[in-house]
């Protein structure tokens, strides 16, 4: 393993280095293309954590028991904490947090599809904490191997904190599916709405060797691989509760591969480019808050 200080300042050599498992630190030389892709990818993750807070925080105020209130508050707090960790990585790569936030609220930056959708019931709270977080953790575990070391390191803390989220989500679901028929229905209905976005979450099935993120080893798994992992882990868990996954084609082949109705990739593109049902409202909300509280930021962080 060649030490990072010895990487020649050459894109091909750098590519070979990361593909051999080499780690890159913030002070190392890196090709402009790598740096740009890194900033874009990591910033999208930070934006997603920050925007993901908005659908969930409404339910903190409506939580039906003190325990659930505490757990949901802690979960959302973690997501804000993750945003902080991740924006710090982006900042150290040269893009100030203020610029990232401005790009976000101006619609110039992306965040994950799932956070563009409304939450309608307490059923959504369970489905999001259990299944959306599960889908995210599949990706996040793969990011533990990211070639960019500062990002790989924070993923460790993030994965550790996410593990409670999934358990909390599953506990919320279990309470409802063993509660009243109306509560069971709440869960099924939420699942019906969230299944589409969940299937799109890991992105279209671009082969990993065509995916620049994989070539640079920013991602260490392909999109389809991640989706298959999610299905393998969670469809049995969903079905064993008596819930129905709203895709009649969904089944596991003998060779272990899950087949399913092809997600609408145009819809995914449409949503992540800022046209989801709740995109504009949520960005406007963030914009308003940023402006309203700018004086605090200036007072505390100026000089």
């Amino acid at each position: 393993m060649v030490a990072a200080a010895e990487i020649p300042r050459d894109e091909q050599a750098f590519l070979a280095y990361v593909q051999a498992g080499g780690q890159v630190e913030v002070t190392d030389w890196m090709p402009d293309g790598y740096r740009a892709k890194l900033v874009k990818f990591i910033e999208m993750h930070a934006n997603s954590e920050l925007m993901g807070v908005l659908p969930e925080r409404e339910w903190i105020l409506r939580a039906p028991t003190l325990q659930r209130k505490l757990a949901l508050t802690a979960k959302v707090q973690d997501e804000v904490g993750h945003a902080q960790l991740i924006y710090r990585v982006v900042e150290d790569l040269g893009k100030p947090r203020e610029t990232s936030l401005a790009d976000l609220v101006d619609g110039k930056a992306k965040f994950h599809n799932v956070f563009h959708y409304p939450t309608k019931t307490w059923g959504d709270v369970g489905v999001i904490a259990w299944l959306v977080d599960a889908a995210a953790i599949v990706s996040q575990k793969a990011l533990l191997k990211c070639s960019y070391a500062p990002y790989a390191r924070i993923m460790k803390k993030i994965c550790w904190e996410e593990s409670f989220h999934i358990l909390h989500g599953r506990d919320v679901i279990l309470a409802m599916v063993t509660g009243t028929p109306a509560q069971f229905e709440l869960v099924q209905e939420a699942l019906d709405r969230w299944w589409g976005p969940l299937m799109q979450f890991h992105g279209n099935p671009i082969p990993k060797d065509d995916d620049p993120m994989y070539l640079w080893r920013i991602k260490s798994q392909g999109n389809e691989e991640a989706r298959q992992q999610f299905l393998e882990g969670y469809v049995p868990q969903i079905r064993e509760l008596g819930l129905t996954v709203p895709d009649p084609k969904l089944s596991r082949r003998d060779d272990g591969v899950w087949v399913y109705t092809e997600p609408d990739w145009d819809e995914l593109k449409h949503v992540v480019t800022g046209h989801g049902p709740k995109t504009e409202e949520r960005l406007a909300f963030r914009r308003r808050l940023l402006e309203q509280e700018r004086w605090v930021h200036d007072l505390v962080l100026a000089a």
Partner: protein, 201 residues
């Protein structure tokens, strides 16, 4: 004593509610995380005190009608701006310290609450130092001062005035809820009320 404890628990519950409204939207990310811990602590304190009064803390927290709650108007106010929020945080923590330390001899859990609130006081003082010359903050403190006095029993108010450095004025007393409380209670109980009493969540 029970009225006093119920007032304390309801105050912690509702101020925790209001503080948790900032989760995800505080002025900076680092503060968002810290502030949310304070909100969670307060809910935890409410639960601990409810458990002195009942076996079913959730029922006590959620299943009363609005006029059965004993919280002080200060904690009920909807304050969607940072200056007012910090003003309330600071005033509430100073008042609460007076109240809690007075209870420590008779109520065992009060000592635990007091120890946890040392962090809240440190945090509030840190912000007050930073904002003390900001007109928005000073105005907010003035505005909330009569409400802050209403958190304490009359005999304790002189001590509060001394610590805050303001003259005692007519307090906004417990007993009449702020106009915003009905909406708060409604939102707080909306999911709970959607299932029969005793339903599991």
């Amino acid at each position: 004593m029970n009225e006093l404890l119920l007032g304390l628990a309801d105050d912690e519950l509702v101020v925790g509610w209001r503080d948790s409204e900032w989760t995800g939207i505080a002025p900076m990310l680092e503060e968002d995380v810290a502030f949310s811990s304070i909100a969670q602590n307060e809910i935890g304190h409410a639960r601990a005190v409810y458990e002195l009064l009942t076996d079913d803390a959730d029922a006590l927290a959620f299943d009363r009608t609005p006029d059965e709650y004993r919280c002080a108007p200060l904690v009920e106010l909807h304050l969607p701006d940072w200056a007012h929020t910090i003003a309330r945080r600071w005033l509430y923590e100073v008042a609460d310290e007076i109240r809690i330390t007075a209870l420590m001899e008779t109520v065992p859990v009060a000592a635990k609450i007091n120890r946890e609130e040392a962090y809240h006081r440190m945090h509030a003082e840190m912000w007050r130092e930073r904002l003390r010359d900001e007109p928005r903050f000073r105005d907010a403190v003035q505005e909330l001062w009569p409400y802050a006095l209403g958190v304490l029993e009359p005999a304790q108010r002189a001590a509060l005035a001394a610590r805050v450095g303001l003259d005692e004025v007519a307090a906004v007393e417990r007993g009449v809820h702020d106009a915003s409380f009905a909406a708060l209670h409604d939102e707080m109980t909306i999911v709970r009320r959607s299932a029969p009493a005793g339903a599991q969540w």
